[in-house]
Assembly symmetry: D2
Amino acid sequence: MAIKTYDEYYDRLKKMNRNLYMGGQKVDRTDERLAGQLRVIKETYDRANDPEWEDLCTATSQLTGEKINRFTNIHQNTDDLLKKQLMTRLICHRVGGCIMRCMGIDVMNALSVITYEMDQALGTDTNKNFINYLKYWHENDICANCAQTDTKGDRLKRPHQQVDPDLYVRIVESRPDGIVVRGAKIDNTTAPVSDEIIAIPTRFMTGKDNDYAVAFAVPADWEGVKMLVRPAYHHKRKYLHAPIAEIGDAESYTVFDDVFVPRERVFLDGKGDPRQTPFAGFLALLFAHYHRHSYTGCKPATSEVLASAAALVSEYNGIQKEDHVRDKLSHIIGVAELVFAAGQMSAYRAERSPSGTYIPDEILTNAGRRLAGEEIYNEYKIVADLAGGLCATLPFEEEFFSEETRELANKYLMRNPEVTAEQQHRCFRGIENLVASELAGVMQVAGLHGGGSPQMETITMMSRYDLEPLKGIARYLFGLQEKLPRYDRPTVTPRKMLERFYKI
Amino acid sequence: MAIKTYDEYYDRLKKMNRNLYMGGQKVDRTDERLAGQLRVIKETYDRANDPEWEDLCTATSQLTGEKINRFTNIHQNTDDLLKKQLMTRLICHRVGGCIMRCMGIDVMNALSVITYEMDQALGTDTNKNFINYLKYWHENDICANCAQTDTKGDRLKRPHQQVDPDLYVRIVESRPDGIVVRGAKIDNTTAPVSDEIIAIPTRFMTGKDNDYAVAFAVPADWEGVKMLVRPAYHHKRKYLHAPIAEIGDAESYTVFDDVFVPRERVFLDGKGDPRQTPFAGFLALLFAHYHRHSYTGCKPATSEVLASAAALVSEYNGIQKEDHVRDKLSHIIGVAELVFAAGQMSAYRAERSPSGTYIPDEILTNAGRRLAGEEIYNEYKIVADLAGGLCATLPFEEEFFSEETRELANKYLMRNPEVTAEQQHRCFRGIENLVASELAGVMQVAGLHGGGSPQMETITMMSRYDLEPLKGIARYLFGLQEKLPRYDRPTVTPRKMLERFYKI
Amino acid sequence: MAIKTYDEYYDRLKKMNRNLYMGGQKVDRTDERLAGQLRVIKETYDRANDPEWEDLCTATSQLTGEKINRFTNIHQNTDDLLKKQLMTRLICHRVGGCIMRCMGIDVMNALSVITYEMDQALGTDTNKNFINYLKYWHENDICANCAQTDTKGDRLKRPHQQVDPDLYVRIVESRPDGIVVRGAKIDNTTAPVSDEIIAIPTRFMTGKDNDYAVAFAVPADWEGVKMLVRPAYHHKRKYLHAPIAEIGDAESYTVFDDVFVPRERVFLDGKGDPRQTPFAGFLALLFAHYHRHSYTGCKPATSEVLASAAALVSEYNGIQKEDHVRDKLSHIIGVAELVFAAGQMSAYRAERSPSGTYIPDEILTNAGRRLAGEEIYNEYKIVADLAGGLCATLPFEEEFFSEETRELANKYLMRNPEVTAEQQHRCFRGIENLVASELAGVMQVAGLHGGGSPQMETITMMSRYDLEPLKGIARYLFGLQEKLPRYDRPTVTPRKMLERFYKI
Amino acid sequence: MAIKTYDEYYDRLKKMNRNLYMGGQKVDRTDERLAGQLRVIKETYDRANDPEWEDLCTATSQLTGEKINRFTNIHQNTDDLLKKQLMTRLICHRVGGCIMRCMGIDVMNALSVITYEMDQALGTDTNKNFINYLKYWHENDICANCAQTDTKGDRLKRPHQQVDPDLYVRIVESRPDGIVVRGAKIDNTTAPVSDEIIAIPTRFMTGKDNDYAVAFAVPADWEGVKMLVRPAYHHKRKYLHAPIAEIGDAESYTVFDDVFVPRERVFLDGKGDPRQTPFAGFLALLFAHYHRHSYTGCKPATSEVLASAAALVSEYNGIQKEDHVRDKLSHIIGVAELVFAAGQMSAYRAERSPSGTYIPDEILTNAGRRLAGEEIYNEYKIVADLAGGLCATLPFEEEFFSEETRELANKYLMRNPEVTAEQQHRCFRGIENLVASELAGVMQVAGLHGGGSPQMETITMMSRYDLEPLKGIARYLFGLQEKLPRYDRPTVTPRKMLERFYKI
């Protein structure tokens, strides 16, 4: 079957070459510090194999007609976008936040559009390679990381202006059979447990930066690929096992140490064919766009996880009926609702690109993602506010179980006689994991930066928004123009951008 | 034809009895201080008669099958809701803000549901009267005010507890042929130029408040109805005529001075039939709900009008490319997009009530309306910020035209050589009207309170939101419950509320 | 006596030449549309003559040793700054907001410093003229406007680059006996009822803009000075007279139509002596600084006026004990407290300039003024929120007094039996004036822009803040530098700026 | 000498009885998991012994006349308050945030006032005990924890209503020679390394809660005292040692397991003398007040530490000149300035209590502390925003030093050629510690809750603020009262509260 089980996936990982570096050592993908990250990814395989979730977590391959994991699906219509978003939301609830597998499918959707557009514009033959590669995905239920963020060196200089030319990933050599790449990508969530790494540009590239216009896919343990791994996970529980405590994150600082990529896995090669260079930017933006649309699914879930914890601890604290508690919960819920609605309506207003892939509305997606990013720290504040200081000062688990202290520790934890000491303990321990742990810090930063910070969304949004027709409203009202056409808020879609660029 | 022209409507007004009081005098509906309000309503007749707007501004009567003005339509499906919202948005652009005719159709939709539900629950026969009344609307393209807000006296006391029993509108007498009502309603926008006044309760009523459970419709010049009118409009322009300067508002403080209402125009009579009393609250809430959904149309338009003016004056001031200008415009635009998306998704998630009328999602509608209300003052701030102080200090129009000063006045107004002095003048005069006028003050208050303040939306939202399933997420994650069902954010819909109440 | 009465001041106005243009006509300073503005200024004369306010509203002339109106005082010590701020706050309460006379004394303080510094740096002899002029102030209790804001033309171009060279006020001719100036200044509050107009630059000037480096004082009715006046005031009350209804504003768009200024009234002349040009910027900034410090007095008062109205209407509405009301009041009060404290501490940290004049701390003053500006619209929102819609829909005064409607109008206005209908009426009428009137719009814009918008305060604040010592904290903590000196947040004071510039 | 060195203090700790429980074991105060907490406290001893800091970090004993550590000083005048606040700010810079020793001296100041007032009101003899105890402090440079927060059980019930009567600390027995107490206190920062624990009530107590009106001091290792310790610290650095990495926190969940307290260490005993019960609340509030005033010192420092890191990483990232960076830094700085100014002005407006101890202004202190609490999460957001995702994904330290990866790891870290790879590394490692670590989570919660959450400050502020005189402003302006007295914003000081309560 095209859909794989977690065990099948894990077996693949076990067989991979050792190219992970952690704490000064070379380690296998079975290293226990990766267990938390694996636990998250497991959810994506389990649910696709779960009959109760089949409607949401599976799709039909456009290539093979087979049932596939939705995390490998290219959106063929509005319904695919809606289901992707809903799946993301619901599955995130189960892991207490980010599901960490979306960037793979987000970049695949972007590649499906851009390789096609590029072929149309330049007469290249890249989409064929992409389709073959997609087939491999569909047949193997591939888990991938999208490696986009270059280390960027001096941010006021373009790639070719850097003192060290390698500070953006670049093509050292372009040959008929493939390319040799050098450089590093950072912030690569899930990369340490991915089958594949797909690297794409991080920004627009112009003439002198042809070498940096590069996109490709390699197996995660490919020769020359070296991952410096940064895991984050919770204190291991001894007594009170719980899903929240099992999840974790693994980030990679991925070095491409003169890596050869065969031609059929190259999707953009500005060095070999400088005409391709402008597509670097389109690809960068389109991946970001799909990824931001994914955030309209995961971020409402994150908000709901936080609201859920806030509501639960308010109940345990006995304050759930107070006005300020209702107001605060309502604030988080309102944000979640608005962000999710933004993503849904982006799907309803999606445009079918010439490649057949659907692209959600950009202005609305960015407006939604931005709101989510702006509010994330505030939502953590609300949970901490309603929980009280104990979520940051709770004694270690052992104190509630060791003979000498357990009775006293549990006695004084009691708040509401309907709630047992263990329930109290579980609740505060859970909130500690959620808001006052190393992983919480990582999740805050991810909630802000993932898919781009609010700053980036504002820039993208305004680059897509045409202010001239908007100004027409004031011009009409102020008597500066005679008539006011029906205002149809225009979007400068990717297609329109390409058309403007290529005059096609 | 069922759709009337503005002239036909205006002819009706001209024939009405004199029951408007303004500035110490009894005046006709042709009083020039009402011209601004009429100019706004005119738009709703003109567009319904405009072939270019026909698709949006007309609908098909469910009763007669005839083409009707959408401002008299009962929403028969999701598409009706979407079109109502979009019509509201686009038509508001043309009057620089509130279109002021929505409350009539919002209360009619609420009555269509509640009279039907009440008949089902109690075996009454009210919906038939409503249907007849609706037919009258469809045939005559009726413009109506919904008079909901009681003066309320001491707000900590229920209606029957007030020192003066008339501080909420009440039924003084209930007879077989009708009822006699006494009291006053306030904040009745458009009432001075409406054909009809539809009065409904402002809150839930309980046993002792049967007399106050009352809903009815009367012609606006009906015997005993007295309107104390408060108009708001701009300084009359002598030279630079512009749509913004022509609009205005007329509010009424409407007194029901022992008014007899014939039975066929009575939709709720708690005095005659105390079993009807609980429906007072359902009706109050459902009207508020439809009205808030209308706000998801008008409020994005108001935001866009403000953003439009802000963008235009930024262009004239030559600062349109500055980062902070982009950020501020983007903020207003983002709010408009999110609020509109909230209303659209509320329509997509609408529930068909047993009466056949569609009811948008309540949680999302409230989340959207609340964001709009929270941001309205901030949006005015942004326009004033980008315009600069001149929008509040611009000399009178005459100084730019009188012989002695016109040359100097216009010379120094120049900013950008591509923009003429008159264009500058028009722009700043328009912004003065928009943000630093009496009408601006009224519009700010309306943008905050219309349909209920953010406070009310939070309360409604949380009364519809079931926190228990939400808490399930944290319970699962923290190991307090074994399984996590797929989270389908539940709404306590009006139907469910009725079912709970009547055990039906 | 050096302190004049309002009548003495008003007599001066009556004698002035007619150079005000309003509504197409040339008018006297006794025009009734200026009555509101005069009512505000009256307060500044009355209080200085009121024994109960003498301690606060008078000072001692540094020149004559006589008792003078504090609105003509040059700050000789910290106590002067504290009293100026407190006087501003308390006197603003009495006029419901801006006292409108501070800009005159703010610019005088700035001139006292800059003329002195310039003389020191360049060997010029300007301070002597200033001192003579100040003596005239002290002897006559002068009311003045500071005309700073140029119309600015294309804001991306410097003064000399404008298509029309007159878009910033400039010196057309510099002669031994004086200068001839041409141009216009806008947003000149109080100018129509001022004795004097003091014009200063609006920005830094560089080499090619010597002609624009100009500061001078002229009587407000001086030959060639033409004021296009824009008044704002409330609907005249017929029955319920109240201070709030009597106040008003008068703005001027002041044209200098080739005005000759005698040398002894010239304080900066970059055309005659280009070495003076850099002082244009120092003067512009220092006036802004004193004016912002004044805002730390008036703005808390404005907030308190709004909070006061909000508290009163909450009492009348019977909601004063609700949590959300307390939270909202507390928010306004908190802002007022913080802004006032910022101004007070700026006084405590003031620096004595070589001229003897005290200069408050710039960073803190800007932080305080910025908070005030950021919150002003929000404060209006809170008042409107707690008042309810009636503040924007209240029928005209006459309806509450005319025979036909007064009984009904007053009956239904009742809320709380302890409050009479007239009290209710007064309260809502007052709030209408405060938040939903033309003047309210002007006050909102003034609250945002007066002294410079939040944007400007951020820029100023950061130009005074030296980030290098601040970064030292992180450098020490992160192990990037060995030692951490005691952090004394440094300010780049005006003196330091001058020293850097002149290497003095 | 009265001032002790860190070593002398540490020697005391080493001799203490084992009553700390951590991770299931009984441990000594030398446990390495407490090293971070000790490192923070060390700063308070080192600076008092440092001649460069002597002016700030030492004071003069009111009892012995000797030089003492300012962390043991009772504020005798405004200057003491100003110095305490400034010391707190400057010393916090050195430990990257909370100095963790202020609660001890804050509670001592509160006790100095309340024991005196109680003696005055009731004729008790408690202040004498306090003075003796204070002498012990002065002679030994005591480090103490204030244990205030009870676990509180069901928060809607009062202490005596709880199912388990021990959920608030209570007096089990009151005897002539002392009292026996039972219960637990939580969130006790620094307690594991303190000499003394001072327990005080957490709320107002009324008649039936006499047993809970209790305050006392015991040595931290006293019989029956058991601390369940929760430490938080950073990953131990192997290579890049830095102050930020050495700091930590240790919280205690402190159980009083039938502890006997000798009479001379009892400061409140409602069981023995029920007349003392009302003082429970006054003491609770006054400690909170002093502690909030301390926050006006530490919180600006925390903000400055965050701003410093944000400014440094912006420089390293090469974006320091961008407008949005300036705006964000300016926001943090502005908050720091305003909060510090609030604390300073609270000192200037301090009231001398009858005991001689100075009490800062409560309204302003609360306004300042609240702003700090409201903004803390936002400030973390800004640092993360400007740092970029790398602060949460940085590989472990070893990867930058191990032979196999160090070259690649450091090569790609380079941003700005003026900054070495190690400097980059140090900067991002430091920011990781600051914003994406377990300790960061604890500091966020502490920044929100320490001294009371913003909710509590609003409540306190409004309980001290008399709205009646404020309403007078609107009453005057609206014509509801004839005259407006000079508005002197009144504070209901602790003294006034006591007077009202005791009619003294």
